[in-house]
Symmetry: C2
Subunit: 349 residues, 2 copies
Amino acid sequence: MKKKAVSIKTIAANLNISVTTVSFVLNGKAKEKHISKLLTQKVLDYAKEVNYRPNQIAQSLRTGKSNLLVFMVEDISNSFFSKLARIIEDIAYEEGYKVIFCSNENDDEKSNDLISLFKFRQADGFIIVPSPGIKSTIQELIDENIPVVLLDRYFPDLDCNSVVIDNNEATFKATSHLIQNGFKNIGFITTDSDQTQMQDRLLGYEKAIEESSLNRHVLKIPYNETSNGKSKSAIKSFIDEHKKLDAVFFATNYLTRSGLEVLKEDAPHLIHEFGIITFDDNELFKIYNPTITAVSQPLTEISTELMKLLLPLLKHEVVKEERVKNVLVQAELIIRESSGAKKLVKSQF
Amino acid sequence: MKKKAVSIKTIAANLNISVTTVSFVLNGKAKEKHISKLLTQKVLDYAKEVNYRPNQIAQSLRTGKSNLLVFMVEDISNSFFSKLARIIEDIAYEEGYKVIFCSNENDDEKSNDLISLFKFRQADGFIIVPSPGIKSTIQELIDENIPVVLLDRYFPDLDCNSVVIDNNEATFKATSHLIQNGFKNIGFITTDSDQTQMQDRLLGYEKAIEESSLNRHVLKIPYNETSNGKSKSAIKSFIDEHKKLDAVFFATNYLTRSGLEVLKEDAPHLIHEFGIITFDDNELFKIYNPTITAVSQPLTEISTELMKLLLPLLKHEVVKEERVKNVLVQAELIIRESSGAKKLVKSQF
DNA sequence: TGTATAAGCTAAATCGATTTAGTATGTTTG
DNA sequence: CAAACATACTAAATCGATTTAGCTTATACA
């Protein structure tokens, strides 16, 4: 039933020439290898006629290159990551690479499993949102000269290419913006993760709070209790216990979701009074009521920076001296009603 | 620099035995092939010691199996698809398969490119959201005995496994629900695609409208004009021109987004009067104001049904007679304020 | 004692490409 | 005219696994 695909061998046999010749022609080395124009054309025509496609598996085995990139994120169904995936997929495709996506759930064992797996699948390069404890695995990849770029978070004492948002600056600006709009007791709702992205977000918030001599109100939800239900009850207690709160800053998109649910369900009157800022924009925030101010991560810029680091590594075009680059991308604060602009907007109606 | 990975050959050399023996042992065929217990253990111990991992590329070349599945959707950054991707990734992983995701943009050329590409990469199976004109490509896959399952839409006259939502029933129920709640002029905003999923959604709407002898109000936005901006102006004109409209049904999640933007921007007073139903739920709909009634596609059920069809095909466990199955999954109507429940809910405050 | 059968192991072909190191001509050139 | 070089092409090794066919030696059975 399954008819065998055309191989270089069948072409050679049918044209009564050697596989070497066929290979040279199909790899564009005809000139260099002194294959006559006549024969070259004959091979090309025939290959076209039978719709020859090289078997990439065989190619990979021989060359050690697979043209596969791995894009490993925390959770591919998180829209921040799936939107990045889409852009990266397109860029990679144009450069002749295919992308395998996978989710590590920020779990070290799963990360290590996946990395080792794709290493043995000859993945040519990795874009990784690292889980907390895989520094040594990343170091191994680097030692083995396998191209890696870290995304979203990094290891401060590891020399590895990375593209991350300037989290510190982003939360500093956003918090300062709340302060300027008159909010005095700003809660910061985050996870207890000690990974860089969360630490930096906290630092930016704290810096702004200190500069204005305000009080710090921080809720750290244990990372393994960030399911919607558990987050909601934690946030609820936090709001209940901090009567003075007049604003909240959610440090991740999933915390925002839980937080908005809490406000909607338990304090619908507060939602228009509270200052609200969230990390990561969402298509619906600009039409929510109130519209929600968000720290927006520039998806296209992040993706292109990632590929700008990765592609030269893949092509071995990298000068040793500038091997490691850490790109810091600035986030954008999209100001909407929820951070104080609401009074203004309301009066427009 | 790049140290070579352990191969079966180095193991054989280091233990002074043949690669054949090593291969037999590592494939669990020691008994069957009469390899002594002593030697078997020696090989296993040594393989463990040097952390041997088979080169999957070589394995693929030899066996013709790659353990790769392709999950081709319209757009992986659409949350319906990325959420499915996440579940499928997990199921596949447990069965020893890796998944390559890709977006075809509902474009035939891109679909064909990608399919042909992964065919030559020896993908073991395909889950495909087909673009309109790739029936013959799918037929080819089937003819070549390559496992395929279609998702979300199908070709009525093609004998191919598929898992789709009962679109017709879903929109029928949802529309009937609006009618029961007293809405009399229900607009249906869809694309001009003639693919099954969109046709069936329209049919369900029309059936409900006819049963109640109401007037049909349909807006078909050309598929290539579904960018947010163009959709918005089309929807705006539609609402402006149909003064009698008291409800709208959005047939896809991206049309809902545009539609809600239009309502928010141009008719904020209408948003609480209008009946609104949308295809595909969104995490924020339950806390939107008003909360939005949605036709929710059961992601886990769809994913498991897909894999229930695909896995036996991959393992060649399929009896000829029951080769083709078309699974119809029922959607769930999640009733919220926007479809008329609002009066009730409002009175609770 | 002779022969079948089992036990224990291996050589070599194979998958489909790439690439090195040729061979056999033809053409220049000093 | 012989050495040097260019042209046109190919045999065979290689990547790392799997698998068929077979080769010894040991044991069983009649």
